[in-house]
């Protein structure tokens, strides 16, 4: 998992705004952020760094296959 878990969210929306690739969305009813498009996570950690309460955890593996120039 790239962005992996959101736990203890206070609903400030900072992560939704700070994610360059639009991975996170708000659940308006629960007023909590959730991971909507995990396959587009570029594992840059901006959401985690902008979260005021440290609610976001991220692991280094992509959830989809990665195309590289050689392996």
């Amino acid at each position: 998992m790239p962005i992996h878990e959101i736990s203890g969210c206070i609903g400030c929306e900072a992560c939704v705004k700070s994610c360059p690739t639009d991975v996170i969305q708000m659940d308006r009813e629960r007023n909590k952020a959730y991971i909507a498009y995990v396959e587009d996570c570029q594992i840059c950690h901006l959401c985690r760094l902008y979260c005021p309460v440290g609610a976001i955890s991220i692991t280094p593996e992509k959830s989809i296959p990665v195309m590289v120039s050689w392996r």
């Binding site: 998992m1 790239p2 992996h4 878990e5 736990s7 203890g8 705004k17 700070s18 360059p20 690739t21 639009d22 991971i35 909507a36 498009y37 995990v38 396959e39 587009d40 570029q42 594992i43 840059c44 950690h45 901006l46 760094l49 902008y50 955890s57 991220i58 280094p60 593996e61 992509k62 959830s63 989809i64 990665v66 195309m67 590289v68 120039s69 050689w70 392996r71």
Partner: protein
């Protein structure tokens, strides 16, 4: 509930959510699922449409957009910024940590010498007007950033917001601009849609400053998956000339967790920015691609990044093994070769990072320890070598009223190669400021042009088209095909005629037949659909320009034309769309402006 059980319960729920996410990720990609009728989760008919007005429209919220907006405002214009992502938290800007400041009091060379040395390193491909501009104005921009608190935090949103809020400049974030509007031969605005609600926005402006950065093929391990050369392609579609598509940024990625930008860059995003001073290199990157091509991937590290001997991390006695010597490969000018050492190596921040390396925890770009894979920034050229063709030093494009700055401007500030650490960020600041001020002045002379309702309706139709289609292709699948065609080392980096012709045939097929059938069922996929089209057009530009340049120079390397050809190729390549919609290419001699 005790704290302990609460925690373990949370962990359990996390794991469960993780599994679920994995499954939904695959299904939303539609890679393994059977094709189904597109059933949008949002109603394309429910989109509202609004028109906003300003003198100067700045598109993009990175370093260039920040300065363009501030300086256009300070020159007396009404300004508005619109950006696909958040100010200072989108594009490449959040990840750059070294910013160049030319300080005449302490610099070890004059500005004339600086300009000449950059030209020497770039084999003449730099534009001295923009190199000089960088040196002349970088210090002033860095001082302004300092006063806004830029150097006090690793995260840039706060310091970027300070001058914007102080001036009351309206800021529209998370709006993807898809169209530039042209009437009576000049740019008159732009249109796009919101990522957060069902809104289409039209902007009417007297002048536009395009600060949309660069882009790539959503490759892995380099944080540019939000950028797909949108601005360049939009401008191309209204007749602007575009340049620089044959150059390649050559950042590798770690072979382990290649897709993690954070780990590839050793957590550098958590560091506060700092200032760099004159230190001119010839930092390729593509030489690493060449070594991997000739010898095969290495199980060892690929050696240290470039830089003067004695300064790179490879000089440490406990450093990683040097890159293997291979014959042939990209030409490196004599003055920039390392005596007895490995050929100069990639990332542009090497010297600055070398400093960090000596005594601190590992930090900075990939290219150091451990096995590497290539292509982490595939689809992106050297910063400032690609983008709109300027017709003068303000970044005015070939379309009246349309300016570009930063990574969206093909200024050739350092040519087709990285020469000066920290200059990319500083260059965006310097160029943004100059373009913003020029756009403000020009807006005072321009009269506002009405946007015909029929035109706006046609644009709205195009924006929403992927939501309206019942049958077609998912952007994720088309992107995957494009990546498999373009990213291999033997197509994009170690170029040869036959393979590029083959790739071009695929790319043309994608453009002609697949772009008109891209699907979206929500706003996120709508964004992906438009981005996918832009990547495909960029791929075509890259192949055509690379086929045309029958020589090797800087970061453009052809196996079938490995030599620098100064007789025929002291020239940049411009690309534009003719009246019939055909892609055209031309040479523009180094040191000249477009005719």
């Amino acid at each position: 509930m005790s704290k302990k059980t609460d925690l373990s319960r949370r962990r359990f729920m996390g794991a469960a959510a993780g599994t679920l996410l994995g499954a939904s990720a695959l299904s939303s990609l539609n890679l393994n699922a059977a094709p189904v009728k597109n059933q949008p989760k949002i109603d394309p008919q429910a989109f509202s449409s609004n028109l906003l007005e300003t003198d100067v429209l700045v598109i993009g919220g990175g370093m260039a957009g920040l300065f363009a907006a501030v300086k256009a405002h300070d020159a007396g214009a009404r300004v508005l910024i619109v950006s696909k992502g958040r100010l200072g938290s989108s594009g490449l800007t959040p990840f750059a940590k070294g910013i160049f400041s030319y300080d005449p009091a302490t610099a070890n060379m004059s500005i004339d010498e600086f300009v000449a040395k950059v030209s020497e390193s770039s084999l003449g491909s730099s534009n001295p007007v923009f190199t000089r501009q960088l040196a002349e104005y970088s210090k002033a921009r860095v001082e302004e950033l300092k006063s806004w608190g830029f150097f006090d935090s690793a995260l840039y949103n706060n310091s970027f917001m300070r001058p914007i809020e102080a001036r009351g400049i309206p800021l529209h974030e998370r709006i993807m601009i898809t169209h530039l509007l042209k009437e009576q031969g000049r740019v008159v605005g732009a249109s796009g849609f919101s990522l957060d609600d069902n809104r289409i926005l039209h902007f009417r402006a007297k002048t536009v400053v395009l600060c949309t950065g660069s882009g790539g093929f959503k490759s892995s391990g380099f944080p540019l998956c939000d950028l797909t050369h949108d601005g360049t392609v939009m401008a191309y579609k209204i007749g602007a000339k575009v340049t620089g598509k044959e150059w390649n940024d050559g950042h590798p990625a770690s072979a382990v967790n290649s897709g993690s930008c954070y780990d590839n860059w050793h957590g550098q995003v958590e560091e506060k920015p700092n200032i760099t001073s004159v230190d001119i290199h010839h930092d390729l990157g593509v030489d690493m691609n060449y070594t991997a091509y000739v010898l095969g991937p290495s199980s060892q590290g690929m050696g240290p990044p470039g830089g003067p001997a004695g300064k790179g991390p490879g000089e440490r006695s406990d450093g990683p093994p040097s890159m293997e010597q291979v014959s042939g490969g990209p030409y490196v000018p004599e003055a920039f070769r390392r005596a007895g050492g490995p050929p100069p190596m990639p990332p542009q921040q090497s010297g600055f990072l070398a400093g960090l390396f000596g005594d601190k925890k590992p930090s900075g770009p990939p290219g150091m320890q451990g096995p590497k894979v290539g292509g982490s920034s595939a689809g992106m050229a050297i910063h400032k070598s690609e983008g709109l063709v300027p017709v003068d030093e303000t970044g005015l494009s070939t379309v009246p009223g349309l300016y570009a700055a930063g990574d969206a401007l093909g200024s050739y500030m350092s040519g087709g190669i990285y020469t000066q650490i920290g200059s990319s960020l500083a260059g965006s600041a310097v160029q943004g400021a100059i373009a913003g001020e020029a756009a403000a002045k020009a807006s005072q002379k321009a009269k506002a042009v009405e946007l015909p309702a029929s035109k706006l309706a046609a644009v709205e139709e195009e924006i929403l088209a992927p939501l309206q289609r019942e049958r077609g292709y998912s952007p994720a699948w088309v992107t995957q095909v494009l990546q498999s065609v373009m990213i291999p080392n033997f197509v994009l980096y170690i170029k040869k005629e036959r393979l590029m012709q083959a790739a071009l045939a695929y790319v043309e097929e994608l453009r002609e037949h697949h772009v008109p059938m891209l699907l979206a069922d929500d706003r996120h996929k709508l964004r992906l659909a438009h981005e996918t089209e832009n990547m495909i057009i960029t791929a075509e530009m890259k192949m055509r320009a690379s086929l045309m340049r029958k020589e090797s120079r800087c970061s453009h390397y052809r196996l079938d034309y490995p030599e620098v050809d100064d007789v025929n190729w002291r020239a940049w390549i411009n690309i534009w769309q003719d009246e019939k919609g055909q892609m055209q290419l031309e040479k523009q001699p180094f040191g000249t402006w477009p005719v």
